[in-house]
Structure formats: C-alpha cells, structure tokens
Amino acid sequence: MDKPFAITLDVGSSLANHTGSWRTSRPLYVDSLPPCNNACPAGENIQGWLFHAEAGDYEAAWRVLVQDNPLPAVMGRICYHPCETSCNRGQFDSAVGINSVERFLGDEAIKQGWKFAVPDKASGKKVLIVGAGPSGLSTAYHLVRLGHQVVIFDAGPLAGGMMRFGIPKYRLPRDVLDAEIKRILDMGVMLKLNTRVDNILDTMKSGGFDAAFLAVGAHIGKRAHIPAGSAAKVLDAVGVLHSMEGEEKPMLGRRVVVYGGGNTAIDVARTAKRLGATESIIVYRRTREKMPAHDFEVEEALQEGILIKWLSTIKQVSDEGALTIEKMVLDDKGFPQPTGEFETLESDSLVLALGQDVDLSLLNGVPGLEIKDGIVQVMPNMMTGHPGIFAGGDMVPSERTVTVGVGHGKKAARNIDAWLRGGEYAAAPKHELAAYEKLNPWYYSDAPKIMRPMLEVVRRQSTFDEVQGGLDETSAQFEARRCMSCGNCFECDNCYGVCPDNAVIKLGPGKRFEFNYDYCKGCGICVSECPCGAIKMVPEDV
C-alpha cells in the first residue's frame, strides 16, 4: 500500500514506545501465606492442595497434601481444623470446609489405592522411633522420604497410639486408620509392636541407630485426690478408651459419671452412652464457655443425650458410688470457687478425665535431658538435651492433638535429617500473611458452606458407627472451590485482563503470568483487582 506520509501508519507500531519508563512503582507477583496454611499445626499447604481439588485432580491434591501430612483420612475426621477457624472465607460467608475436603481426599486415596513414593537413594543412616502414634508415624514417613532407614518400636499391640487408643471408633473408624498406617509401613518402615523400650541409649546402641525420635505420648491418666470408698468403681479415661480396643469392653454400668471438661471427657461420656449407659453425665468445674472441649463436640454429646453438670466438683465417692458434689461459682477471674453447697449424685462408675501424664521411664539415665512438669524439654529443632535424641508429640510441651503430633513429626524429621548430615535445618522464611484486607472478595461467587451429613441420633446412641459422614465428590469439589486461594495466584486471568497496557504476559496453564515492564505504567489496577492478593506494588528505585 502506498501510504500517505505520516497520516497512515503501520499497525502495532506503538510497540516502539516503551511506556514502562513512566512507572514510579512496579507490581510484583508474590506468594503470601494463606491463613489456613499458617494455622495448620501439621504445616499443610492447604491452599495448595485445594487448588488441585478445585480442578478435580484429586490425586494431585492428595499428593500435595501428603507432602506434609501422611494421614489425610485420619485428619479429615479428627483434626480440630484451626485452618477453618482462621480461614479468610469466614469473613466473607463461612469458612471453607477444609476438613471435609481433606477427608474426601484421604478416603479417595484409600479407595484408589494411591501409594507413597519412596526415594531410590538411601542415606545409610538408621533412625529409631519410639512410639507408633501420630508423631512417630509422621516422623517415620518424613524420614523415609528423606532417604533414611526407620524402625519403630511400640509397646502396644497395634500401631496408632492415641488415634487408636484415645479416639473412639465413632469418630475414627479403624479401617481408615489401618489403611493409612499401612501405607506408611509399606514405604519400608519396620514396626516392632509389643516392644517396650526400657533404656533408650541401650536400645540405640544395640540396634546401631544413628538417632532416635521419641514419641511415646501421654498415656497415664491423671488421678485427682478424691476420697473414695474401697468398693467404689473409679476409672481413668485413657484406660477406658484403651480397653475399648481390647476384647473385653469396660463395664461401666447404667449410670456413668465422667469428671472433666476436655475432649477426652466427652469421648468417654459418649462411649459410655453407646455401651448402654442410660445416663452418662459429665461433671465439670466451670461453665460451657470455659470448657476446653471443642464446642461442636459438646454439642454432639448433648444431642446424644449426654448430661453435663456445670460448676460442679466431686468431693467424695462412697462405696455404693454416690458422689458428693459441691456447687461452684466463678470468681471475677473466671476461676471456680467453692460455695459450700453440696448435693449427691448416684453413679455406677466414675471416670476421671483430668488429663494425662507421660511415662518417662525409658529415659532413665540419659545424660543431658531436661524434664519439667513431667514432660521432656526440647530445643526448637525438637532435639532433647541429649544429642541425637529428639522427641515430639504429647511428651513434649505443646498442645496435645493428633495434628500437632503430625506436625512435630515433619519438623523433627527435617531436623534429624539435617543433624544426621551434620548440618542444621533452616526453615524457609515465612511469607507475609495473606490477610483478608489484601483480597478483593468481590470476585468470589456467593456459595454457602456444605456441611457433612451426620448420623441420626438414635444410631449414635447405640452404635459405634461413624457419626460424621463424608462429602460426595460434587460437594467436596464445591467446597474446594469455595477456597479464595488467599495470597496465591490461581490463574483467574484478572491481571492479564485488566491491564490497560497489555503489560501482563500469560505464560499458559499452570505457568502463571509475568509482567512486561517495558510497557507497565504502574497503574496498580492488577493489584487492586487481583482477587487473592497475589500481587503487590513496590516503589521503583529511581
């Protein structure tokens, strides 16, 4: 074409004009820390695995999940999901049902028979783990992935620790537990049951272990000093729950009183109900608000007909099982104070659920250890005062939950690995928190949370069938898609679309985006319109 000078121009020639020079600040893609990930005691990359679940790639989701936690089907049932408590979506409508999705993935993995991959390079190091509970199993899993050989000793007849002997079946069906434990063992972990370690140093030496991780849990029920008649039937909660796993079920009678306010108290009371107690009563010193048990568990217990006597302490137990109860009041600090008012409560048995102590006998004679309040002190790298001996789970200072135990496992494994290699594990610096204020929630569709189905109350009162059901695929995917992907690009193409200067380059599915700073004028629309807050503006140095 014979174009008139200056009046008619060749298309697209403005690419010669690099408008990036106008910029005073530049956008940067960031990966911030979603509050769910931040809150997860097991350090799961929740947003990361939800991302795959959203797309229906459940195996990929599961694989991301198990990078941190080898027990998703267990977690998806019994974790108290602090992730959901801190989930940003809670400020939008209601938290993402992370736990439901986790369970779905865990169950799906069992159904599909997905296995863990084992590295082909062996480190040649051998680690002893004492205790096949959540912490021990998790450590074993992570150590194997890091190439070490692992042997677990457990004093009990079955692996699982508190997951088996502390948590009732109706919350965690045993086939699920067995399947997830088996998958870990299948990685080549050697498990020695019914094997008590009396002296850790001897065992390590004789077995040629390079390091040890102790996770024996806390299995000794705390006893309160309650004067009791010699014929009175006073049991402890851990014992009761433990014997549920044996041949002989505990004989609790028709009126069972449980003393305590934690989750264990609830578990026992609900178990008693299922064993046939007509009345299962919890006696607790303070009020419902002050109760350490999770409210949803209290709620479920109440639904099942468990009675709770608030602001009550047990002063005495007679031979016939009559309990003398003193009414309490809360002082201004919230502590219960006696009132001098008494009443009597008849019972066939009294179960004490007042907490647990750790059996530390295996540590006798180990130099360098520090033990405080009956628990082993560890350094930030989970190592005890004795080099090469690490500890975790309920036997070290921390919140006593399965998830925390699993988290200890990962942390300990990394540190043991570093220690074995003569180095020190340095955790990657934490990303900035993806706070709700950094999101642009406008973009998320309205979607109320889908609740898991619950077993009807009659069956909950008489059987040990699982109380809480799982989500089907559609619902699980829906729930996953409720995730707002806080702080992490989920490839919604907003930045690519909203840039008035086409200064965002789309790299293709799964590859995210890049800025073309030749043309980016630094208007910041991409930052404002990124739904999940995965872009930030930083001043340009001039």
Binding site: M1, K3, F5, A6, L9, V11
Partner: protein, 417 residues
Amino acid sequence: MLKQCEGSHAVASAVAMCRPEVICAYPISPQTHIVEGLGEMVKSGNLAPCEFINVESEFAAMSVAIGASAAGARSYTATASQGLLFMVEAVYNASGLGLPIVMTVANRAIGAPINIWNDHSDSMSQRDCGWIQLFAENNQEALDLHIQAFRLGEELSLPVMVCMDGFILTHAYERVDIPAQEQVDSYLPAFVPRQILDPAEPVSIGAMVGPEAFTEVRYLAHAKQMQALELIPQHAAEFKQIFGRDSGGLVRPYRCEDAETIVVALGSVLGTLKDTIDEMRDAGHKVGVLGIVSFRPFPLLAVREVLKNARRVVVLEKSLAVGIGGIVATDVRMALSGLHLHGYTVIAGLGGRAITKASLHKMLERAVKDELEHLTFLDLDHNLINRHLEREKQKRRSGPMAENMLRDVGVVAARIA
C-alpha cells in the same frame, strides 16, 4: 449523443457513467436536481452497484463519503453554499486524508442574508481546503469535468470539486453531447485506492501529527497539487482523443494573443465575456479573455504566459474578499510578479445579480482607458448605499442593513427564498 437537457441532468448522467459506488446527499438549492437524478437511477437499478444514502446533513454527507472512499469505494456528493460551509471541517479532512472524492458545488451565495442565487463565495471560501477546484464554463464542460475529476482525483489521491454556477448552469437547458459509456470506461479506469481500510492489510488512517512532521505533510499536499498542474493538461489531451472535444485543461485564453487588455474570469460568465469581447474587438479594442478552469491548483505559469504581453488585466470575479477585494485577483497578481501592468478587480454577479453585456461594455470601456477604479463593484446601486450610510450616521441602531435596503428598493421580503 446530443441531447437537450438541464445542466443538472447532464452532470448526473456523467457522474452515473463514472460508476460511483457510494453517493450521499443532502438537499440544498441549486444542487438538488443533480442528486435527485442520481437517486432515481440508483433506486431504479439503472446505476448499480451503488449505494445512495440520504444523510442528515452535509457534514454527514462528506463524512459518509470519507468513510466510503477510505474503504475503497468511488464516492460522490454534491452541495452548495450553506451546505458547503456546513461540511467544511469534513472537506478539509477529506483532502488531508487524501481521499479522491468528487463533489459538485452548484455555486451559490452565502448568507446572511440568505440568498439562493449564484456567485462563487461558497467554493472560494474553500480555496485553501486542499481540494482541486475546477470551474465549468458551460454544461458540456460541467459534464466533461466530472469525468476528468474522477480520473484526476483517483490518480493523485486527492478530492476534486467541480464548480458550476448555480441555476445559470444547473437549471439551464442546453444541448450537450452525452458520451457513450464505453468512452467513459476507456477514459476512466476502475478505482484502485492508494490506501484502503481492509482487514487483509490493516493500517491506521488519520494519525495525529505534531510539529515534527506537520510542515512536511502540508508540503506534500502542495506538491501533489503541483503534480496536478502537469496532469490536468495531459488528461485534457487524452480526453480530446477519446471524446473529440476540448474540455478542461488549466486555462482557456480567448483572443488573448495580441490583447492589451485581458479579462480574467471563471465559470459561466466567460460566455458573456467572450461575446462582449467580440463586440469590443469589432469596435477596435485589443481585448481578450482568460478563463481559468483550474482554480486549485492555480496555474501561475499558464496565467503569466497569457498575460505577460498585455498592458492591463481586469479580474472579474463572483466573490468578494471582504476587507480587501478580490480573491481570484490576488492569485492572478501572484502570477504577474515582476510584470508591470495595470490590474483591476471587478466584483460582479453577487447573489445572482445578472452580469449584462451592457454593464461589461461600460466597465471595459473605462478599463481600456485606465479609468477604472482598482476595485469596482459592477452595477452597484450607489443611491441605496448612500441612503443607508446616511441613516447609520444619524442613528446607531438603524436596524438590519439588508432589510433597510430592500425597503428602499421597495420589495421587502419579496425575494427571500
């Protein structure tokens, strides 16, 4: 084919034979008959393929033509007077963009006072708009110039205005030779646009140009018109070969060879002038007439060539540059740079006032004696003027001038169209 017909009809036939593809029009006297004719041809299917668009203003008419031409269609419109002024912005734009639109201007005065009759104020107001402006002396030439206009415009990628006197030509029945379609086809090739809006080869037309290149753009516009100075005579020669008659060209001298006095003029008045000159020649005056066909580009050299041996030049024009006098005269003077001859400007025929041989005689007789004022208004009614000036002197608010003067003439509101 010889035919006795109205000027507008002759032009419409010529335009139709040029196979225009888009015609857009908005009515204004005295252009109406041309586009009405074309509209009927399109509607009846006699002119096809062609889009005839009834637009809502002249501004739109020119704009539609701009769009159509930029999209590669041979485009035509016609207007006059107020209509031309209403489209001015687009008129400049069409030439700036280099779009070879052809437009007939049925020359008419500009108001206020509103006046539908002929003079050249309208096209003269656009002398700097970048269009080529050709003036027809009679209906035959009006017809011929349209055929040449498409050829010239498209070859140069410039729009062309064919100016013909309103009513005097547009509404006059004369015998014209209407060419055969084959003749037109052999003279005028199909339109091959220089630039075109086409998805197959996208371009951006109409960029904003700053000081860094604006002068160059304007220079090139000028250079193109200079190119036209060469093409116009060539085209006229070719035209003669095919059609067998002299039409177009840059200038048309009549009895100028030995003339001492030469009258320069454009358009239909040339006919009257030639008759007058013949009579004056008979009376022994060495006078001649120089008709300018191409007013833009202005043929400085050709004009100079004709005038250089004369003693005086009288520019007779149907337009007034208020505050100075002649428009054509100024350009003619440019052509005479360095030559010493007497120059007179005669403003005549404004708003349709008839230019009679008698008046021309009177004026020329004074001219040959160099008794003419440098600026003369032909047939100006001095009584009328004086009375008004007197009135104004007495009373500041003397009322609308035109109305007052008409009252003096005694025909208030009688001639307002």
